[in-house]
Subunit: 138 residues, 2 copies
């Protein structure tokens, strides 16, 4: 997702244009990996050294709810990444060494829901973990 798309969504939902949001979004753009609140904070060091975690988490949560960021738990920590292809359902391979991700277009749900009659499916999680080609070499 581009920064323009992100801002369009934010303004459609009456969120204000602030410096912090701008910097956070820039941090995520063009990164194909999941990142933590701490990594955001470190990145902000130049721009706004005094930013509080409250602000970071509040915005990350907002972005996630609006579909601007994708969110997942890795080792009990919240991780976020730019929504790569809005509207197109997909999953990720996640490199356990460098954190880089790779999109997986297949979704296992289609062939499985048939076997869950009377169940009300709300969501699912499918992630593959391992080493990406670059990290395999090392």
């Amino acid at each position: 997702m581009t920064l323009d798309e992100a801002w369009r969504i934010l303004q459609e939902n009456q969120f204000k244009r602030t410096k912090n949001r701008d910097t956070i979004l820039k941090f995520f753009s063009n990164k194909d990996r999941y990142l933590t609140a701490l990594e955001v904070k470190n990145f902000m060091a130049d721009d706004n050294p005094g930013i509080s975690f409250d602000t970071i988490y509040r915005n990350l949560s907002t972005f996630s709810e609006l579909g601007i960021l994708e969110e997942t738990d890795l080792n009990g920590e919240r991780h976020f990444r730019m929504q790569c292809d809005p509207g197109v359902h997909h999953h990720h391979f996640i490199c356990t060494a460098c954190g880089k991700t790779r999109s997986i277009p297949h979704c296992p749900m289609e062939m499985i829901t048939v076997n869950l009659p009377d169940y009300e499916v709300e969501g699912h999680k499918f992630e593959i973990y391992g080493k990406c080609p670059l990290c395999v070499q090392k």
Copy 2:
């Protein structure tokens, strides 16, 4: 998995037979759901009110490493359940209301790994969330 099987595995690996381990394992047997360390502690109230979280987590981690328990992160918290069918790979539907689980024999990995050449797959997670038939009615 039965308690006998669990104890066989523990003794094969030189773990001692303690009262705490016995009570914890009994707590998990015959429960088809994921449980937290706190729930374990509450259950121990009768048997050993003074048990420390250190002991609980240490044993849960041990059981998990030995394949006696299955482990997953739900909302950033560690959850454990008795290994239902040792050796048989499977996944779970997890009820977000009552926590009950349902085994899903299908594994999405088989048809997908072909599309990850040069990647080194270490593991994967596939879980379906929603309401079980009983909780749908309410």
